[in-house]
Amino acid sequence: MTDLSSGPRQTSEAILTVTDLTQRVDLGRDTLTILQGVSLEIKRGESVAIVGRSGSGKTTLLGLLAGLDTPTEGEVVLEGKAISRLSEDERAALRARRVGFVFQSFQLLPALTALENVMLPLELADFPDPQARARELLGRVGLGDRLTHTPRQLSGGEQQRVAIARAFACEPVILFADEPTGNLDNQTGQEIQELLMALNREQGTTLVMVTHDETLAARCQRRLTIEAGHLEAAREETA
C-alpha cells in the first residue's frame, strides 16, 4: 500500500482527508458534474455537519467519504488509507470494523427482528458474542423490550433507534449519517438527535452528518456547506 502518511496535508489528528474530489455521471451524451474539486479534512473525534440544498451533492459526498462509491477524480484518505485505491473487499473490511452508517430511510431488513438487525454488522465483523452486544445496545437506545419485533411493528422513531444501535454496534471510529431525522417528526427527531449525540460522545466517535435540520447542524462542531457541487470554503466555520 502507498504510504500517504507523509503527505503534506496529513496531520496526526486527521482521520479523513479529501483532496480535489470530483464526481461526474455519464448520461450518454452529456456528463453531469455532481461534485467539483472538493477538498477537506476532518479530525478524529470531530463532529461535522454537511448542509446544502436538495440536489447540491451532499449525499454523494457522504457516499464517497464512506467509501460506498469511488470518485471520478481525487482522493479520499480514511485512517491513512487511500480508499479509492483499495479493492472492493478491502473497502468492505474497512467499513466492517471502522465505519458506521445511519440512513434517512433507516434501511433495516424487514424480515429480521430488531435484535437480528443489530447483530448483522457484529456477525460480519466476527465480533465475539454478537447477541449479548446487540441486546446491550438495544437496551441503551431504549428498546430493550422490543428485541423480537420486526421493523414493521415499530414506529419510525423506533426504527431509527434500531438503526443507531446497529451503527454503533462495532464501535466505529467514524459514523456517517444521512439525514438521520429527515423522515421523523420534530419531537421524535429531537430524541434521535439526543441519542446520536450522546452515543457519539460516549464512544468518542467522529461524526459526519448530512442534514437539513438547522438545530442538528448547530450541535455539530463544524458545518460545511455544499452548493452546486462546490464546497463553500468561505462558510466553513467552527461552531
Partner: protein, 828 residues
C-alpha cells in the same frame, strides 16, 4: 368510480412490479398449459391415426365362418358419413409356373386401405412405393418370397381356382399385418370383385369376411350402437385399442400425455399462486390508503375484482399469443420427425383448461387476502401488531386446494391421477411443515459470522417464512417434474423390455405331432433354435360350474374370448414371462386342473376352484381352475388363455404344435426351403409387424420426450419467477450487507450456499413425493410394477441445488456491480 378512472388505475398497474410479475405468471401459465394440451391432443390424434393403419381402418368387423357381411350394414355406415371397404380372406392352392403352393389370399375392394398405405414394388429391382389402393380386377400382387418360390416373374400369370390373374407387382407389406393365427401361407392380394369368379369359396369353406370402417369417432360410436343388436356370435368388432400388441403401449402413451397435461396445470397454478399471493400481500398499504381516503370496503372489493378481471383477460390473450406460434413450431417439428403431414388444428376444448387455470388460480389466490384486508381497520393495516397472525390463512389454503383439485379434475377426469398428484403435494407440504419446524429448532442457536456456511444457515433461519414458502414451491415444482421423469423412464424401460432385439419374428403353426422333431431338427441345422414348442387344441369355453357360459356371463359381448375358439394348450413349466397371481402352478405329477389368464378370469368372474367346461370337437371336458396367471400379450411369443398340465384333460385330443423363433432379415431364404420341405406347416411372418411396432413406440417415445422437455422448461420458469418475487428484498439486503462491510466473496458464497441448500432440500422432498405419487400412479394408470428409481432420483436434488445456487448468484449481479450507495437509493 367512473369507467375512465378504472381505466386509469389499470394503466397505472402496468407500471407496478408486482403486477408485472402476476401478468408474466398468467402468461406463462396460459401458454404452458395451452401448448401442452394442444400438442398432446394433436399427438393423440396422430398416434391413433398412425396406429389405425394396423387395422387399415379405425374399426374392423370380422365374420369368421363363411357368411358375407350384409351390404346394408356398409350402406348404413356410409349414410352415417363413414368410409367403408371390404375384404375377403381365405387360403387356397395357387398354381404358377410349374408349381403349386398353398397361399393366403386377401381380396380387397377399391377403397382398401382406409388407413395406412400398402408397400409395393413394381418388380424385384425397383424402389418401394406406398400405395393407397390394391390391385385392379384381373391382377394379383404376390409376396416377393412366393415369386421366388414359384420361380416366376412379374408379368407372368397365376391361377386361383378357375381364374387366371396377371402378376402385376410385388406386395412387400400390407398395413394390416394380421395377428390372426388362421391361414398363414404366403400372401397374395387380389381384387374383391374377382373372388366369385375363382369358384374357390363354397358352402362351409374357411373364409373370413371383413368390413373396414373409418371416420369421426362419434359417427363410429353411433354406428356401433346401431350395429350391436344385429351382430351374431361369429362377428367380431375390433378397434385399434383391442389390438393386443399396441394397445397397451398406446394407452400408456395417452395416459402419459394426460399426466403431462395435469402436471402443466398444477405448475401453472403454482406460478400464478405465488405471484398473485405476493401481489395481494403487497396491497396492504394501498388498501389502507384507499380506506383512509374514504372508500367503502364494498367499492375497494369491487375495484380489485375489476382489476383482476382485466389482468385475467390480458394474461389469457398474452398466453395464447405465445402459445400458438410455439405450438405451430412443435407441430412442424413433429411432422418432420414422423415424416407425415400434420394439420395445424387448434381445438377449443384443449384451450379451456389453460384459460380456466389462469383465471381460477388468479382469483383463488389473489382475492381472499385482499377481501380480508377490506375488513381490517386502516390503522391496523398500516402498522401490524406484534404477534398478530394471519388467522384466515387456513381458509385460504382450503380455497386453494379446492380450486386446484377442480382444475386438475377438469383437465384429467381421472380420479386416481388427481388423488395421486394432489395427495403427493399435500403430503409434501405436511412433511415440509414438520421439517421446517425441526430446522427452526435446530438453527435457532446459530449466529452468523464471517463464515459463509454460518451466514447461509442464519439466512435460512432469519428468512424462515420466505425460505419455507420458496422451498415449498421449489419442492412442488420438482415433484411434478420428477413424477414425469420417473414415469417416462419406467415407460421406456417397459417398452424396451417388451420387444427386445431378437424378439421372435416368425411363428410356425399347425405342426403335426409326427413332424415336430423333424421341424425342430431343420431349424437347428440352420443355426436358428426354436423357442418352446406348445401343443395347441382348439376349443370353446361352454360351461362355468355346470352352467352354460352364456347364462353366467351376461355381458358376453364384451368377452371376446367367448366369441371364438380358444387355443388350449398343456405345459409343464410356467413360461418365463407369466406370473401366478392366485393358486399354484401344476405339481410334477398333477394331471388335473387348468390355469386361466388373469384378465379373462376377471371378465368371466371366475376364481380358483371354479370348474370350467370346454367343448372340443365332439368332446367335452371339465376341469377346476387351479391357478390364475398374467400373460405378456405384447411379447410376440405364443400366449394362451388356458393351460392344462401334461397328461391332463387334453391328452389324446387332436393337437397341432406351435412355436416361434427369430430369423434375421438376411436369412429369409431359409423359409423357402422350409415351406418346400414341410408344406403343411403354416408360417407366420411377423417381422414387419414388429418393425412397425418398434417404429411407433419410437415415435411415442419422441413425443414423450418433447412433453417432458416442455414441462422441464416450465418448471425452470416457475422457479425463476419465485426467485424473482423476492429479488428486490434480496438485493436490498445484499447492498446493506456490503455497506455494513460484508466482503463480496462472503456475500456470494453465503447466498449460493443458502439457495443451494434450499434447492437440495426441495429436491429431496420433491423426489420423495414424486416417488410416492408414481407409486400410486403405477398401479392404476400404467400397470407396471413399482421400483425405486435411484439412478433417476439421485441426481435431481443435486441438480436442483446447483440450479438454485446459480439463480441465487444471478440475482446478486446488480449488488456486486453497482455501488451499494446507488443500489440502496434505487431500491428505496
Amino acid at each position: 368510480m367512473s369507467a375512465s378512472q378504472k381505466l386509469g388505475s389499470v394503466k397505472r398497474d402496468w407500471r407496478q412490479r408486482d403486477v408485472k410479475v402476476v401478468l408474466s405468471a398468467l402468461i406463462i401459465a396460459v401458454a404452458t398449459v395451452a401448448i401442452i394440451a394442444l400438442f398432446a391432443s394433436q399427438l393423440q390424434r396422430t398416434l391413433i391415426t398412425s396406429a389405425s393403419s394396423f387395422l387399415a381402418a379405425d374399426r374392423q368387423l370380422e365374420a369368421e365362418h363363411g357368411k358375407p357381411i350384409p351390404a346394408e350394414w356398409r350402406e348404413e355406415a356410409r349414410n352415417r358419413g363413414l368410409q367403408t371397404a371390404r375384404m375377403v380372406e381365405f387360403s387356397t392352392m395357387l398354381s404358377g409356373g410349374e408349381r403349386f403352393q398353398l397361399v393366403s389370399i386377401k381380396a380387397v375392394s377399391d377403397e382398401y386401405p382406409l388407413r395406412g398405405k400398402i408397400e409395393f414394388q413394381q418388380d424385384a429391382d425397383s424402389d418401394r412405393q406406398l400405395l393407397g389402393q390394391g390391385p385392379r380386377p384381373g391382377e394379383a400382387w404376390l409376396n416377393p418370397r412366393l415369386v421366388r418360390l414359384l420361380e416366376i416373374d412379374v408379368g407372368d400369370t397365376v391361377e386361383v381356382g378357375n381364374l387366371e390373374l396377371t402378376v402385376s407387382g410385388l406386395l412387400v407389406r400390407e398395413p394390416d399385418g394380421g395377428f390372426n393365427l388362421g391361414g398363414l401361407a404366403p400372401r397374395v392380394m387380389m381384387h374383391a370383385d374377382d373372388v366369385d369368379a375363382t369358384g374357390v369359396i363354397q358352402e362351409g369353406s374357411r373364409v373370413e369376411y371383413v368390413n373396414l370402417f373409418a371416420g369421426e369417432e362419434a359417427a363410429l360410436d353411433g354406428f356401433y350402437q346401431w350395429l350391436q343388436p344385429r351382430l351374431e356370435p361369429s362377428h367380431e368388432w375390433e378397434s385399434i385399442r383391442d389390438g393386443e400388441a399396441l394397445s397397451e403401449s398406446l394407452q400408456r402413451a395417452e395416459r402419459f400425455l394426460l399426466l403431462g397435461g395435469s402436471i402443466a396445470v398444477l405448475l401453472a397454478s403454482v406460478a400464478v399462486a405465488v405471484a398473485s399471493r405476493q401481489f395481494a400481500v403487497g396491497q396492504r398499504d394501498t388498501v389502507a390508503l384507499l380506506k383512509t381516503l374514504g372508500l367503502s370496503s364494498r367499492r375497494i372489493g369491487h375495484m380489485y375484482l375489476v382489476r383482476l378481471s382485466v389482468w385475467g383477460l390480458a394474461g389469457m390473450a398474452g398466453g395464447l399469443l405465445v402459445a400458438l406460434p410455439v405450438y405451430g413450431f412443435l407441430n412442424n417439428l413433429m411432422a418432420r420427425v414422423l415424416e407425415q403431414e400434420i394439420p395445424f388444428t387448434v381445438d377449443l376444448p384443449s384451450l379451456m383448461p389453460a384459460l380456466a387455470t389462469a383465471v381460477v388460480s388468479l382469483f383463488a389466490f389473489a382475492y381472499p387476502p385482499i377481501r380480508r384486508l377490506r375488513h381490517v381497520p386502516a390503522m391496523r393495516v398500516l402498522r401490524s401488531q406484534p404477534g398478530e397472525a394471519d388467522s384466515r390463512a387456513w381458509s385460504d389454503i382450503a380455497i386453494a386446494v379446492v380450486a386446484i383439485f377442480g382444475l386438475v379434475w377438469l383437465y384429467a377426469r381421472e380420479v386416481m391421477l388427481v388423488v395421486a398428484l394432489i395427495g403427493g403435494l399435500v403430503a409434501l407440504l405436511g412433511t415440509l411443515a414438520l421439517l421446517g419446524w425441526l430446522l427452526l429448532l435446530a438453527l435457532r442457536r446459530v449466529t452468523g459470522g464471517g463464515n459463509a456456511w454460518r451466514l447461509a444457515l442464519v439466512g435460512l433461519y432469519r428468512h424462515r417464512r420466505a425460505s419455507l414458502s420458496q422451498i415449498a414451491v421449489f419442492a412442488m415444482t420438482l415433484m411434478l417434474a420428477s413424477t414425469l421423469i420417473l414415469v417416462r423412464s419406467s415407460l421406456l424401460a417397459d417398452w424396451q423390455a417388451q420387444l427386445p432385439e431378437q424378439t421372435p419374428n416368425h411363428f410356425l403353426i399347425n405342426i403335426a405331432p409326427s413332424t415336430v422333431d423333424e421341424v425342430d431338427a431343420f431349424w437347428r441345422e440352420q443355426g436358428q433354435g426354436l423357442d418352446t414348442l406348445y401343443p395347441m387344441v382348439r376349443g370353446r369355453l361352454t360351461e362355468i360350474n355346470g352352467q352354460p357360459v352364456r347364462q353366467v356371463v351376461s355381458k358376453d359381448d364384451s368377452v371376446n374370448a367367448l366369441n371364438r375358439e380358444l387355443n388350449l394348450t398343456w405345459m409343464e413349466s410356467l413360461p418365463e414371462d407369466n406370473r401366478i397371481v392366485a393358486g399354484d402352478w401344476f405339481g410334477s405329477d398333477q394331471t388335473e386342473g387348468v390355469s386361466v389368464e388373469a384378465e379373462l378370469a376377471a371378465e368371466l368372474g371366475v376364481d380358483v376352484g371354479d370348474v370350467l367346461g370346454f367343448t372340443i370337437g365332439s368332446e367335452t371336458i371339465a376341469e377346476p381352475i387351479t391357478s390364475i396367471r398374467t400373460v405378456q400379450w405384447e411379447s410376440m411369443k405364443p400366449n394362451f388363455y388356458m393351460a392344462f398340465p401334461p397328461g391332463g384333460a387334453l391328452e389324446g385330443l387332436p393337437a397341432t404344435w406351435i412355436t416361434s423363433f427369430y430369423l434375421p432379415e438376411d436369412r429369409k431364404d431359409a423359409l423357402n426351403e422350409f415351406t418346400r420341405e414341410f408344406p403343411t406347416v403354416s408360417l407366420l411372418e411377423v417381422d414387419h409387424i414388429i418393425e412397425r411396432i418398434q417404429a411407433i413406440v419410437g415415435q411415442v417415445t419422441q413425443a414423450i420426450e418433447a412433453i417432458l422437455a416442455l414441462i422441464l422448461a416450465a418448471s425452470l420458469v416457475v422457479m425463476a419467477a419465485v426467485v424473482s418475487a423476492t429479488l428486490q428484498d434480496r438485493q436490498r439486503e445484499g447492498a446493506l450487507l456490503r455497506t455494513l462491510g460484508g466482503r463480496q466473496s462472503l456475500l456470494v458464497n453465503s447466498t449460493m450456499l443458502e439457495f443451494g441448500l434450499a434447492g437440495l432440500l426441495a429436491g429431496i422432498l420433491g423426489v420423495l413425493a414424486a416417488e410416492s405419487a408414481v407409486w400410486a400412479l403405477q398401479y392404476r394408470m400404467f400397470g407396471g410394477e413399482f421400483r425405486w428409481h435411484w439412478q433417476v432420483a439421485l441426481p435431481i436434488p443435486l441438480i436442483s441445488g446447483f440450479v438454485l445456487a446459480l439463480l441465487g448468484r444471478w440475482q446478486l449481479r446488480p449488488v456486486l456491480q453497482v455501488s451499494p450507495m446507488l443500489l440502496l437509493r434505487r431500491l428505496e
